[in-house]
Symmetry: D3
Subunit: 71 residues, 6 copies
Amino acid sequence: MPYITVKLMEGRSSRRIKLLAAKMTEAVCETLEIKPSDVRIEFVELKAGTFAVAGQIVPEIKDSEGGSQHE
Amino acid sequence: MPYITVKLMEGRSSRRIKLLAAKMTEAVCETLEIKPSDVRIEFVELKAGTFAVAGQIVPEIKDSEGGSQHE
Amino acid sequence: MPYITVKLMEGRSSRRIKLLAAKMTEAVCETLEIKPSDVRIEFVELKAGTFAVAGQIVPEIKDSEGGSQHE
Amino acid sequence: MPYITVKLMEGRSSRRIKLLAAKMTEAVCETLEIKPSDVRIEFVELKAGTFAVAGQIVPEIKDSEGGSQHE
Amino acid sequence: MPYITVKLMEGRSSRRIKLLAAKMTEAVCETLEIKPSDVRIEFVELKAGTFAVAGQIVPEIKDSEGGSQHE
Amino acid sequence: MPYITVKLMEGRSSRRIKLLAAKMTEAVCETLEIKPSDVRIEFVELKAGTFAVAGQIVPEIKDSEGGSQHE
């Protein structure tokens, strides 16, 4: 432990997911004072058409490797 | 989105959980270039006796607010 | 199937949870044209201090059996 | 909150998933007396060959847009 | 990996949960040909009043350390 | 109940997943003294590039139908 699950809309680049894995692990280890090898992170990319807010299905997102993403 | 679930053994102090919420949100916003209000984090504290590694139930942990934690 | 998990802040009355189970099952059966016995719903009540939005731990909620709840 | 996860066998039409998102949100808002924008629903479609009942892998389902579905 | 989550109604004895951890790990290791230390199992005990089948909240169960359990 | 979720790296053969469904159901029924029809198992296969240990994304695995798998 800890086992972390990150649910996010599909469309981010693998570069960004790799960076997220490293940065989150660093933040967790620093705060909980544990070894990186204790930390497992699972990324669950939600396909377009499978996530709804306020009863409406959320449209696809594009990882502009820069621009911010809707939901 | 993203919706993040952090499963960790029960026993951390609320101070540490608060710090973890802030640090993880910072790491996620920086990497995904999104707003903090987009980030939701759920902490699931596993009670002693409810988690097993290698077929053995993992013992309780104490948050020594300093010492590292087993599993 | 379907197996439905409803995560919500702790504090709702059991009357309301029961009503939610019935209403959601009705909505699912009507839409998917399946039998009620196919539908399983798990309610996960998040304790105060275990859920964060924008890096901040969300305070407790009270079920006023009338008033709307914050997050 | 609430964050709702609906696990169901793959094969439903996107029309039906959209309708389900709207109907479930309506049922939840009415019962919990909260705003639609508070409600997030994630649909997890289980692929054929990934779900077992009584030790047996459940076969694929077809959304006949009318007929009822097995499991 | 694998990471296994077992959701079951609250009420089983800790003796039985320990036995379940050992037996499931054995079954997984034998079948996937992996080491026990690769296997993590989380037991999530659902409290009475938090699980519904067919729109009805399921009553509490008692672990008679012998008799079979309802749902 | 019980509802079991098995998260494992993508790449196992369907033969092995079928065997795992049967063996795990047997272990659970024997230990909890319940009927096979009470047991539901969901297999979640994590794609390469979506799981990290110690901040590093775990590479793909091959089911050699014999050789042991890396994490």
